[in-house]
Symmetry: C2
Subunit: 430 residues, 2 copies
């Protein structure tokens, strides 16, 4: 029985712990990080492009000037200097908020955790796009929320589908607490919520008494003109909880995100954060403040935009020239991700080991749904590999898809049915 | 009605949110941080004593050598290099663990949160010392745990009282999930669990099927000889979850703590941490690893020991020479805190505004109990102010206590009864 460890604590865990399972992405990391594999799986920003000399210098300057405070406990709500600066950052997307209503968090993942903690009782419903961010789904599951997915199309969340989903939840006697949405350069879908739909989605939620959780880590990483004003910027002060992050505009290794919430909610968020981590790291907050005030951070964001745009182009061009017909994908105008739907009869999860053998990694789609959808779908990331590697990765992937199609044609659809149990394409972005 | 804000979200929060209330300590911070006030309230390590030049240099060196990784996402469990080093640190207190069973957390507060999250259903019982760490009580309340306090004496937790508490919980039909204990230089009690009692407490918990949560942030900050081996070091591998922190040996502004847990529990902790913060900050972990490997960190701990010992001496000497008779206090042999019990008839919470007026701050005792005990008690910290300030603070405090006693003698015990509703001294350390 070597290697098998029984869990002596089974039966002693909380009920919520049963909902904690390893994500599709996590299981992939070990294989995807082998050097011979082209990873189109991870969502890692290209931190190599940062002005590293300047970042190192500002850290040592900060310690020389203000070391005892940077290394000390801070406030649970977060450093007031940084909260002021965060308001300036949010204003770039039309969001006007008070520093007093901002809570600094350990990445926006912690903001998701705190929001779920203060609003969700077991069995409460959260509405979310189909597909949705895998990290949010994990958090929602850990609080025993019931996620109801709302379809998207090329313009993002479909308002009519949102109305229907709300009506169905109400008809079933359950309580929907909020809509969770990523309006810009969606992870994983790669689409953005169109300008007119932002107003419509807000209005639908206000009428239904639903909060909107607007998660916006990628908003400043658009490739085509200025940002579309946020949902929060459209009269949503009392109805929207807005999440931001420095993980994509600066560096994820700092784990500095934030949440802007109506004042009463902000008070609960701070209490929940104190119970969770006492306070976010003072050092990291002061590093971000130094970076925002001493560096041309918007110039650096422009560097990232250009870099990711080149990679996006490399990926879309490679997909267009190499993927077998019947494969479709989204056309992101910013962010990190292209959402791909395989030809009918294929299954991205079943295909995954063969892709790894062909030295290319992606994330199968089912991890981005709480309800088992997404078997034909997969997420491709273009943020980290250089363009030539992206092209090589798509070449390898196209070869795997072709081989799968040949198998399917040889053995018939019953071949993949037997493996996957699915013949109908999943809804959503197919 | 200016200044009054109603909470439009009442009725929409989760049930657990009702248990989230601001701590006594938090409410104090604003007044206690005024420069004219001698604060004996906070538990801030004296970060000014750190080798700041070296810390600044190692940060810029780290970014120059390994910036893209330090600024990138990391693993949910924490950096393997740091987890190896943490095992070396734990060995100093007799704890032998595998890096694979270590999870790095955002301070040990996050470890408390994750443990509570995976084990506690609403209504489950947690046994804890009387008094106990206010931050742990806040976390336990936020998961709707029911805390049952176990009395301490000068040798720490009283084993016979632990047996009785376990029996009472069982008799009441409730489920106790774990004992939460701070065996070294207790916050707030200032006492340590004696060597023989450590074995006894472990044995009692093993027999009762209770996990021991051993929270040990201060273990290396003893003033009298080598550390007493941890509870985890006494055959507790499968029964103890051990929490450590770099907040007191290095710097709290980094928020780097850890938890060593039986393997099956560790797997759940990592999943819970990913749902909570995705991963702890890579930068902070690498800074700690650099500090441990390039600096004489144990020499620095010796510097802290000496510094805190001088301050402990200053506080105990001042208390002995100045406090009115009838006041008692503990005699810490390490750590940051002296737990003080006022003469019968006084109430530390009622006295607090008068102490602030006299420009001295402390933390009233009731915040360190989940059940309203501790009215005569208060926590004094000697970690942050310099010795002369400590002496001045105790002088002011003694004056306030004397004035309270005069009021009591003038108006009789009914005076304080009317205010506090309490005439019997609280149990525990009185």
């Amino acid at each position: 029985m070597a290697g098998i460890r029984l869990d002596a604590f089974t039966g002693r865990y909380a009920q919520r712990t049963a909902g904690m399972t390893a994500s599709e992405i996590r299981a992939l990391f070990a294989v995807a990080s082998r050097p011979e594999v082209v990873s189109l799986a991870g969502g890692m920003p290209y931190t190599t492009a940062l002005p590293l000399d300047a970042v190192g210098s500002l850290m040592s300057d900060l310690i020389a000037r203000n070391g005892p405070a940077a290394l000390q406990y801070g406030s649970g709500q977060g450093d007031p200097v940084l909260r002021e600066l965060i308001c300036d950052v949010m204003a770039l997307e039309g969001v006007i908020g008070s520093p007093d209503d901002v809570t600094v968090t350990v990445g926006s993942q912690q903001a998701l955790d705190l929001i779920t903690r203060i609003f969700i009782d077991p069995g409460d419903v959260i509405l979310a796009e189909a597909p949705s961010y895998v990290g949010a789904l994990g958090t929602f599951a850990s609080y025993q929320a019931d996620v109801v997915h709302v379809p998207m199309d090329a313009e993002g969340l479909v308002p009519e589908a949102l109305r229907e989903a709300i009506a169905q939840v109400q008809a079933s006697g359950r309580t929907a607490k909020f809509l969770y949405t990523i309006p810009n350069f969606h992870n994983p879908a790669g689409t953005s919520l169109s300008d007119p739909r932002r107003d419509e989605v807000l209005q639908i939620c206000v009428e239904a008494g639903l909060l909107v959780i607007e998660d916006n880590p990628y908003g400043l990483l658009g490739f085509e003109g200025p940002p579309t004003p946020a949902i929060r910027a459209r009269g949503g002060e009392n109805h929207v909880i807005y999440l931001g992050s420095f993980s994509k505009t600066f560096a994820p290794g700092l784990r500095v995100g934030w949440v802007l919430a109506p004042h009463a909610v902000r008070e609960k968020l701070v209490l929940a954060s104190e119970a969770s981590v006492l306070c976010p790291p003072a050092l990291n907050q002061m590093i971000v403040s130094e970076y925002l005030t001493t560096q041309d951070w918007q110039g650096q964001v422009a560097v990232f935009q250009k870099l990711y745009q080149e990679r996006r182009d490399a990926m879309l061009n490679a997909l267009t020239s190499m993927m077998p017909s019947g494969t479709t994908w989204t056309h992101p105008t910013g962010g990190f991700y292209v959402w791909t739907t395989l030809p009918a009869g294929l299954d991205a999860k079943v295909m995954q080991p063969r892709a790894i053998t062909a030295r290319v990694a992606y994330v199968p789609g089912i991890g981005f749904y709480a309800d088992g959808q997404g078997q034909r779908e997969l997420r491709l990331s273009y943020c980290f590999p250089e363009p030539a590697r992206i092209e090589e990765g798509v070449r390898r992937l196209a070869g795997v898809v072709e081989a799968e199609l040949e198998l399917l044609q040889t053995f018939g659809p019953s071949f993949s049915e037997r493996i996957t149990g699915a013949t109908t394409p999943s809804p959503g972005l197919a």
